[in-house]
């Protein structure tokens, strides 16, 4: 079945540590990839997206993600996290052979200790 997997459910880091959150998908065909973030008490919002071109995508607040087609992955990275990055992060995918419906992974809850 088509799915989006985020294997890290909870991550705890200290400020200035590097971050990498994993995302794998099982869709075939052409995919578009997204990371959404939900800060405490706020709405879900788009962090970054990949459609085509350079597989390294830069988003807001210093985040970036790399699309590796051969690994069906779209991992999120940040070189140095801040306390304000504490949030829940969701990977999401649309696929042209799945009606382009946006499907979310289970989310990763990140806590950054000051």
């Amino acid at each position: 079945a088509q799915s989006v997997s985020q294997h890290n459910h909870h991550v705890i880091l200290s400020e200035a540590a590097s971050l990498e959150l994993g995302c794998n998908y099982s869709y075939g065909g052409t995919v578009n990839l997204f990371w959404y973030v939900q800060y405490p008490g706020q709405h879900l919002q788009l962090l970054l997206k990949y459609f085509s071109g350079d597989p390294l995508v830069k988003g807001i607040k210093g985040f970036e993600a790399e699309f590796i087609k051969s690994k069906f992955s779209f991992n999120l990275r940040k070189p140095s996290v801040q306390w304000s990055d504490t949030a829940e992060y969701f990977c999401a995918v649309t696929a042209n052979n799945a009606g382009n419906m946006l499907t979310f992974g289970g989310g990763t809850r990140l806590m950054v200790k000051p």
Binding site: H43, F90, T94, F104, G106
Partner: protein, 114 residues
Amino acid sequence: EAEVAQSPRYKITEKSQAVAFWCDPISGHATLYWYRQILGQGPELLVQFQDESVVDDSQLPKDRFSAERLKGVDSTLKIQPAELGDSAMYLCASSFGTANEKLFFGSGTQLSVL
């Protein structure tokens, strides 16, 4: 910035009762989505509208759930009768075009079925 409005913010009901949630998308957004998010999981698409037409409702439990967007603007999601397993956050989102564009999410309605 314009926001997606949802009401009520919280709803507590007893099983077998009827509940309804309302969503007003950002003005001009043709696509409206209802997602359900169970605690600890990612959002799951229930129904997607393009203007007043249903684009996808394959994950909507149609024996008890219904959704409408009569004039292609605001939308109502109804559950009748509610079951204990329906307890979740119900999120509404909208986008100007398809799900490949940025989705704007509302604050959600937290439903508790007792």
